[in-house]
Structures are given as structure tokens and as C-alpha cells.
Subunit: 299 residues, 2 copies
């Protein structure tokens, strides 16, 4: 596959890539770089790198594949530090949850000797950092690649094979389609989770303590989603703000209708909404995207 790869950014995703690749044993050398000292200490201690470099520029020399697994706000900095050190014919990819923004940055950099293919493994848990990573994070999950029209088939195949070796199934789509879909499957759910937690927190201490105490009735599940990495989510919300704002507006429109239905005691309308939700859930289980194990396996 690749003789040498570099992972820039060693959080949940970066460290899971390292662990997954080591499990498969397909790459001769895996180099890592992270700008956070405490992260590097964990990487060193837990042996999550074949060689740790102190600069991104040094870390990419001689690598065939470079994976940028940092929040999108660090992208331009990372690319500026590595662009003069890239091996001719090397491939760059990333793992961000927004893709049009990444395409634009890659285009703007206009790297002559390397081929850039934006990517997004649709995998993640609420915990972040290298300690949270695990080898099977990408197993049975989708990885979406959003190549530009000029990308040659052979390079695309190489990147596809790479993610497949970690257990992912590949889907190729445009960056616009990616961002449109992810707005609904991931970004809006996170917006809502953060705001329901915020709404619940804005109470006096006594009521707030009671809300925490009885949170098992639904709220705790939202707090779980809302516990994801703050920097990553700030970047996603800002980068994809136009589509997310549209989605929030749609959502508020639905909420207003729902308010009307409950204040008018419109039983028929409510039941209709609930039954459709159940059908949608069934489709998700049928599509293999969730199990019907009760209560998230907490039972």
C-alpha cells in the first residue's frame, strides 16, 4: 500500500488511524505530528507513533500519504508548514466533517507535486483525544471521499484502499452533497444537543440539580452528543454556517407547528408525526446504521 504515512493531528481520529493500521500491519512506517505537548506525551507513552516529529514540515518528508486529522481552523497553517517538504507524487487527505471548505483550501494552496483528496470517515464517539482512539473506530462505517473533477482514478483508488483496509466502506460524492447531508445527519443534531443542554442548565441551582438527578428520561442522551470536542465543533459550525442556519430555520418551523398541535390538542397530527418517526427509525435499523438493542445497550 504505502511505505510511509504521516498523521498530522493525533486526537481521537489520528490515534485510531494509527491503531487500526498497526492492527492490519500494512504500513512500514507511521510518523505523527501534533502541536500539543500533552498529546505528544500520551503518544510517546502509549507508543502511538513510529516516530514523533516536532514540526509538521519535518514530519511529512518522504511520506507517500499525509492525513490531516486536525480541526479545520488549523488547515491553512498545517498546509503552509508542509507544502515545501512534500514528496513528489505524495497524496494528501483529511478527516474533517465539512468538505467544501477543505476543497477550497486545497484549491487555494494549489500544490504542484501532491494530489489532494478530501475525505471524511463518518465515525466518531463523544470522547476526544488520543486516549479515546481505538483500532476499530472505522470498521463498518462509511468513509466519504470528495475528489475534485481532476483527480485521477488511480490515486482515488489508493485512498479508497487505505480506508477500506481500516474496515470502512467508501462512498464517492461531491463536496456540496456531503455538506448538505452531514448538515442533517450530524451538524443539526449537534446544534440541537448543545441548545437543549443550554436550555436545561439555565435554572436556579436547586432545579438544575434536580434536572441532573432525573436526566435519565431523555436529557442524558443529548448531553452525551453535546460532550464532543469543542474546537472541532466550533470549526464545523462556522465553516458550514450557511447550510446549518437553513437547517435550524426548517427545524424551528417544525417546532412552531408542533407547539400549535399540542396547544390545540391535535391528537391526529401528533400521532402522525410519532408514527412517521418510528418508520424513519426502522429505516435506519434496516440500513444497518443502528441496532434495536434497547436503551443504547445500557439496559
Amino acid at each position: 500500500m504505502f511505505d510511509q504515512i504521516s498523521i498530522i493531528g493525533c486526537g481521537l481520529i489520528g490515534s485510531s488511524i494509527f491503531k487500526g493500521l498497526k492492527k492490519v500491519g500494512s504500513i512500514k512506517k507511521i510518523i505523527t505530528y501534533d502541536n500539543d505537548k500533552s498529546v505528544n506525551e500520551i503518544i510517546k507513552k502509549d507508543k502511538l507513533s513510529d516516530e514523533i516529529f516536532k514540526s509538521a514540515g519535518e514530519a511529512v518528508k518522504n511520506s507517500d500519504l499525509i492525513i490531516i486529522a486536525t480541526p479545520i481552523s488549523s488547515f491553512e497553517n498545517v498546509l503552509n508548514s508542509i507544502k515545501d517538504n512534500l514528496k513528489t507524487g505524495s497524496i494528501l487527505t483529511d478527516t474533517c466533517s465539512v468538505k467544501t471548505g477543505v476543497s477550497k483550501i486545497f484549491e487555494k494552496m494549489n500544490l504542484k507535486n501532491s494530489i489532494c483528496i478530501p475525505g471524511h470517515p463518518v465515525a466518531g464517539i463523544e470522547n476526544s483525544g488520543p486516549k479515546a482512539g481505538f483500532a476499530d473506530l472505522f470498521k463498518n462505517r462509511w468513509t466519504i471521499l470528495t475528489p475534485s473533477k481532476n483527480t485521477d482514478e488511480k490515486t482515488l483508488q489508493k485512498v479508497s484502499n487505505f480506508w477500506e483496509s481500516l474496515g470502512s466502506t467508501i462512498k464517492i460524492m461531491s463536496d456540496e452533497d456531503h455538506d448538505k447531508i452531514l448538515t442533517f445527519t450530524s451538524h443539526l443534531p449537534h446544534v440541537v444537543a448543545y441548545n437543549i443542554v443550554k436550555t436545561s442548565m439555565s435554572h436556579d441551582k436547586e432545579v438544575k440539580d434536580d434536572i441532573i438527578k432525573y436526566s435519565a428520561g431523555g436529557l442524558r442522551d443529548f448531553t452525551r452528543i453535546a460532550a464532543s470536542d469543542p474546537i472541532m465543533w466550533r470549526d464545523i459550525f462556522i465553516d458550514n454556517s450557511a447550510l446549518i442556519i437553513q437547517a435550524i430555520d426548517k427545524f424551528i418551523k417544525n417546532l412552531d407547528e408542533f407547539k400549535k398541535a399540542i396547544s390545540e390538542k391535535d391528537s391526529k397530527k401528533l400521532i402522525e408525526i410519532f408514527e412517521k418517526s418510528k418508520d424513519f427509525r426502522k429505516s435506519i435499523i434496516k440500513a444497518g446504521q443502528d441496532t434495536d438493542k434497547p436503551d443504547f445497550g445500557r439496559k
Copy 2:
């Protein structure tokens, strides 16, 4: 404890009470009634009753404790059918997720020979029906009792002991406090879950299929909550509509602020919201209301 109890309504909660009591072995005879033929067939086949009755009125005769585990819209009917058959000194309780409405119905019925204590085991999973029930549903969960001011201590203790025998911890509070807290811990999260699913569904088939396919990024977790029993939730939303509407308004206000923050790329404000969410999540884990096992144990 009690020699004979009757369970009216044998869905998830009713059947879990039966299974829990049988596991403990504390009650001599457990009678059940459900107005749904198909439910009764399951109850019979799976031996989830010591005696199945065909009318609620017949089912309560000679019972010391009657548990109404039906949706709240059936309450008045159930009470009307049983009121003339209640044993003197019998205790009535329920399992609804709204309590002021239940108190009002109990008050209105003004039963002379029985004592009514509204109750709510804060336990539940997204699956419904008798097949979903299990003995440990109430274990390590709160059961909230909302007795009226006239309730004698001895009767309250009996009902407390009953739920404690199923593994619950008891909390006594007013019905108003109960509904206020549950609005935020359970009702608002469900409103939001239903509406995020609705928002995601309102797309062309092709986009909708893609949304289902990539739902693991957050959306699937909302569909799980939104798969709960439709009749039960219709009743909760209608019965507690005033408080829920207030909560929705608060929530929309927060959403509007959030929209503003992302359109203005207000990094500081966003990070502040996210960090506070993480703290709130930590409080929930500290309060023993969730574990920090990643990804709901799906990993």
C-alpha cells in the same frame, strides 16, 4: 407487603412490574388487565400474569394495590370502571410521566374507600409493549411519588416500599415540581427528537436515503428517543402542554442566539457553550445518571 395486586395496562411498564415482582417473590397474587387483545395474548403466552381478567372492574376486586400503567388518556375510563369494585383500604397508584393531571383526576373521582398516590418510575426504554419489559427496569432508577397533603404516612411508606422492592430509590415531591423538572429532563428532549427526525425526513427520496445511510453521525441517536410509544407521548404532550410550550420557547430563544453566534463566527461564545455542556455532562455522570462508556456502549 401486599397479598394481591392488580396491574391495569400491561405494556413496557406493567409487564416489567410483573417480572420484577416475580423475581423478588414478594406478592402472593398478581392480577392483570389490558384492553388490547393482542397484548393479552402475549401476557398469556409468556405467563406474565397470575390471572388475566376481561374487565378492569373484575380485575381490582380484593386487590390491596392497584397500579394503573396506562396512558393518561385512559385514566378516567379505567377509574370509572373500577371505582365501585375497590376493596376498602386499597391503594391506587400510577406510572405516568405527568403528575398534576393525574392528581386532578384522582381528586375529581374522590374515592371514599381507597387512597390514591400518584407515582412515576423514571425508567423507560424506547421499545414498548409487554415483550419489551424486563425485571430490572426500575433497578437503580428513581421513582417519584407526589402524594397530596392529606396522604397518611403509613400508606405512603407502603407504596415507597413497593417500588423499593423493585430496586428503585424513592423521591417525594409535589406534582408541580415533578412536571416542571420532567419538562426539561424528558418532555422537551422528546419534542426535540421528534422534530429533528421530522426535519430530516422532509427531503426528496434520494437525499432522505442518504440521510438514513449516514445517520450514525448523531441523527440515529435522536431517532432512538423518537421511537417511543406514540399514544403515551401524545398524552404527555397534551397534558403538560403549558409547561412544554414555555420550554420550547426558551429553547428556540437559545437556538436563535446560537444562529447569531455561528453567522457572526463568534468563536468565543461557541466555545463557552460547548465547554459548559461538557461540564453539565460530567455532573450527570457524577450523579450516577449515565456512564462514560463511549458511544452508548455501541463501540
